[in-house]
């Protein structure tokens, strides 16, 4: 497992060193679909590790982990999209993202690669759904015949509904 994550990490670093992160997406598997998030938000990828649960959190906040002395919360992306839960295995990864200084770990089934998807190959998200998940979709990326669901990390972490959810939880306790 660790070999896998390390290799991805070097790929990430390589791209960072090239000083161009535009149109680069880190892609991962989740319940049979391929997803991608913008590489500029990703700080590192680590294997799954011991997660300490925090009481009274929404189910998709699995708890907190120790990342070299920093305590960061971990979100299960499957649970976030209300997908069927699945036991963690040795391919499960935590993608650590950083948005404006807030670091959060995202639990995904498997990290695949860093892919380059030029803007012209990104279609706008389908307008059908009224589910919460749809808001988080930034677009559909095409690489040859494959389709990657590109996620908007900002929305994924901070969209109003979720803030409300957390807010409700904390208010409940008070």
């Amino acid at each position: 497992m660790s070999g896998n994550s390390n290799s991805v990490k070097t790929v990430v670093e390589e791209f960072e060193n090239e000083d161009t992160q535009k149109d680069k997406y880190l892609t991962f598997h989740l319940a049979g679909e391929d997803y991608g998030i913008e590489i500029r938000f990703v700080t590192e990828i680590i294997g799954i590790q011991q997660i300490t649960e925090v009481p009274d959190m929404p189910t998709f906040i699995r708890g907190v982990i120790n990342l070299r002395g920093k305590v960061i919360p971990v979100m299960d992306v499957r649970a976030r999209f209300k997908l069927e839960a699945r036991d963690y295995d040795d391919r499960t990864c935590i993608i650590v993202v950083n948005i404006d200084g807030t670091e959060v770990g995202l639990v995904v089934d498997e990290v695949s690669e860093v892919a380059s998807i030029p803007e012209k190959n990104v279609e706008p998200p389908p307008r059908t759904g009224n589910s919460t998940g749809n808001l988080c979709i930034q677009g559909m990326g095409k690489i040859d015949e494959e389709v990657k669901i590109l996620l908007n990390v900002q929305e994924l972490l901070f969209n109003e509904e979720m803030q409300k959810l957390i807010g409700d939880m904390t208010e409940d306790q008070e």
Partner: protein
């Protein structure tokens, strides 16, 4: 002055700003004390502080500041000499002068000039001058000002504030500052010895001695003051360009400086700072000043008036003029000149006598350190505590016989603990400074609101983290304002209620259960439950008539933003912003607020602040496979309960009897939603916890051990979690939650109320 400022000068200016701010801080309480007590010592002290400020500002060419300080000094001088009588207006003027100075200092801090203060300076100086004129006229003429005299009495009564006398702490700060000044002076002298023509260094030296003299005077150390004054005279002479009797006076000055340092060292040890054989040393310094030829001539029998006249037209040596004017014979003059020369020679010999070297140095020193550096030091130490835990409790070592390793490990733990304690104390400062600032506030507000107030300060020596002090400054201001404006009744109302017409506001700080409690208490009318409730209902903040709410819940509503029961907005309070600020700031430092109040007897607000923001002593407990930390300070005892001790109430509450008391039982596994080893209470351990006056029991599977715990916040992303105050990293690298005792306690209350509503 304004355009090219080099780094040195900036440094001097910054030092000046810091010093002046300190001075103003000292000044304010003193000025207010003047209102009730015009004893000459106080006036002198204030006079000196203004004088010092004037001197320093003058040296740095901050003319406007100098002007105002000078005017204030004039006023005080007249009062001091009894030429005019102090009226309350003077106190207010002096306070205003302080405010002006603060503003000017801010200006100076950002622009290195006080040019822009010209208009306010004019106004301020003018006001002071007018006050002087007015007072002079009033005192000269008839006492046609009875209302103002009434006011004096009134203010005297209303502003009766704690006496400020020289206590050990002030003495200590005198010593600290004195040592610093003397050391600077010493360095200046040494540098001057090498290069006596640097006017900058000289001016700096002079300033150091001058400040020191001022301080001595303020504290009444007359011997030190005398010696310092003499040194200052010598330096002044040099500064003005006159030659001294010897080429290099630095040695003599250094000797005198050593004496002063000795005296300061003595003071720091708690003895009197006396200077042995002071007369002799004063003489020696006097000898540094060359006798002017005119003085010698006078001694030789020439009439002083003639010499004086000669001096006034002096462009040639005094002697020649006198000869020309026929007032003295050439012989007389040349003898005098010879005498002067001989005297100088002799002085040179006398002065080079080796001076006794200082044996004892002052033993208290401090340096100013950037707060950022301190913070990163403390963070690093926090990381080190974690690393040490990881090392000593490393799972790889489990079950191994490691006698030497354990010994070394224990030693290391001890050192780390000491290091950590030391680091924590670095940031702590006494609350005295903060409390003293409130004296002025209370004085101003009580005058404005027409109330008579006694401010009592307790526990000034309590030490709190510096950032915490900064964070609670605003809340304290708001709380005091509220107490004065809403809490305390006007004198008539108090008398009608059978109370002393003068209200008391107590500001206290003390350590309590590992926290610092800062309390603002007044003996006014107390919080009005009905009014608060009425307001809350009209604002739609609560549903129903609120009769089911506890007093505490209702009192806590005053902290909601925009909540004010004041009938009208005054310039002191009433907008409903203040209490919100109090709450916000306290949340920032993880503090809590307790409000209690008895109608007619007053109200009391406790600000409860965690002692340290970083590290606590923790007890590691286990439920099933989950670990949690309890603050050791909250733990009273722990035991395995017997069956007979446990009672179940019909409501489903579990109680345990410990000696004569019954405590509620909270099961930790229920709070954390975990699977415990056993659900039988008799298989677990009960830990008796104390939160404020409340006690309750927490049931866990096992107590694992005690350890130093570095508090880390749960991510902002998660926000506040009730029952959890933070988390820490354990020896095995896992994250462990730190339980919040207050939150746990509230969770049973919550549970109970839910059950009640369900029923």
């Amino acid at each position: 002055m304004t355009i090219d400022i080099d780094d040195d000068q900036i440094e001097i200016i910054q030092e000046f700003i810091t010093e002046s701010r300190d001075m103003i801080e000292q000044l304010e309480p003193q000025i207010i004390e003047l209102g009730q007590n015009t004893d000459p010592e106080t006036i002198n002290a204030i006079f000196r502080l203004f004088h010092s400020m004037k001197g320093s500002a003058g040296f740095l060419e901050f003319d406007h500041l100098t002007r105002v300080a000078h005017a204030a000094e004039n006023l005080l001088d007249l009062i001091r000499n009894g030429e005019i009588t102090l009226i309350p207006n003077h106190v207010n003027l002096l306070c205003a002068a302080c405010d002006f100075a603060k503003e000017a200092l801010e200006m100076v801090e950002s622009n290195y000039t006080d040019e822009e203060m010209v208009a306010p300076a004019d106004v301020m100086a003018e006001q002071l001058h007018q006050a002087i004129e007015l007072a002079k006229n009033a005192d000269d003429g008839t006492q046609d000002d009875p209302p103002e005299i009434d006011q004096t009495v009134d203010l005297g009564a209303s502003a009766e504030l704690p006496q400020i006398e020289i206590n050990d702490e002030m003495r200590q700060s005198f010593v600290t500052e004195g040592v610093e000044l003397l050391q600077n002076a010493e360095q200046g002298l040494l540098a001057w010895g090498d290069n006596s023509n640097d006017p900058e260094a000289l001016a700096d030296l002079f300033r150091n001695m001058h400040s020191f003299k001022g301080n001595c005077g303020f504290f009444g150390f007359s011997e030190m003051e005398k010696l310092a004054h003499q040194m200052e005279t010598v330096l002044d002479r040099v500064k003005s360009g006159s030659p001294l009797a010897v080429e290099n006076p630095a040695d003599t000055l250094l000797a005198a400086l050593d004496l002063l340092q000795n005296a300061v060292a003595e003071l720091s040890e708690g003895r009197e700072g006396t200077i042995p054989e002071i007369e002799e040393h004063l003489d020696q310094l006097q000898r540094l000043l060359p006798q002017r030829i005119g003085e010698i001539l006078v001694e030789a029998g020439i009439h002083p008036a003639h010499v004086e006249a000669a001096l006034q037209t002096q462009s040639k040596p005094v002697g020649e003029i006198l000869i020309e004017q026929g007032k003295a014979t050439p012989e007389q003059v040349s003898t005098a000149a010879l005498k002067q020369k001989a005297a100088q020679e002799e002085q040179k010999k006398q002065i080079t006598l080796p001076a006794k070297k200082a044996a004892a140095r002052a033993n208290k020193q401090d340096i100013r350190v950037d707060l950022g550096k301190l913070d990163s030091l403390i963070n690093l130490i926090g990381e080190m505590v974690i690393a040490e835990n990881m090392l000593i409790n490393n799972p790889d070592l489990k079950g191994m016989e490691l006698e030497n390793f354990n010994k070394a490990g224990q030693h290391m733990s001890k050192l780390v603990r000491e290091l950590q304690e030391m680091a924590m104390t670095i940031r702590m400062i006494p609350v005295a400074g903060l409390f003293r600032r409130m004296i002025r506030l209370v004085h101003d507000i009580s005058a404005k609101a027409g109330k008579k107030v006694d401010l009592v300060l307790l526990g000034e020596e309590t030490e709190i983290d510096k950032t915490v002090i900064e964070t609670i400054t605003d809340p304290l201001v708001h709380l005091l304002r509220n107490s004065l404006d809403h809490g305390l009744e006007p004198p008539e109302e108090r008398i009608a209620a059978g109370k002393d017409e003068k209200g008391t506001v107590t500001l206290s700080a003390r350590h309590e259960e590992g926290e610092v409690w800062v309390t603002v208490k007044d003996n006014g009318r107390g919080l009005n439950r009905e009014r608060i409730l009425e307001k809350a209902i009209s604002k739609g903040l609560i549903e129903g008539d609120g009769s089911d709410l506890s007093d505490k819940e209702i009192y806590n509503m005053i902290f909601l933003p925009g909540f004010s029961t004041a009938a009208q907005v005054t310039d002191i309070s009433g907008r409903g912003v203040g209490m919100d600020v109090v709450k916000k700031n306290l949340e920032k430092i993880k503090g809590k607020i307790n409000v209690s109040s008895t109608p007619g007897e007053g109200s009391r607000i406790d600000l409860r602040i965690p002692l340290t923001l970083a590290i606590i002593d923790g007890m590691l407990v286990r439920v099933g496979e989950t670990m949690a930390i309890l603050p050791t300070l909250s733990i009273l005892e722990a035991f395995r309960p017997e069956k007979e001790q446990i009672t179940r109430t019909p409501e489903g509450d579990e109680l345990v009897r410990v000696r004569e008391d019954f405590f509620h039982i909270i099961r930790l596994h229920e709070v954390l939603e975990k699977e415990p080893d056993s659900t039988e209470l008799t298989d677990g351990i009960l830990i008796v916890l104390e939160h404020q006056e409340d006690r309750f029991c927490l049931c866990v599977d096992e107590i694992v051990g005690q350890q130093q715990t570095v508090i880390k916040g749960l991510s902002d992303f998660i926000g506040n979690v009730s029952g959890v105050s933070g988390c820490t990293i354990l020896g095995d690298g896992g994250v462990c939650l730190i339980l919040d005792i207050g939150g746990l306690r509230e969770s049973i209350e919550g549970k109970n109320s839910k059950q009640v509503t369900a029923a």
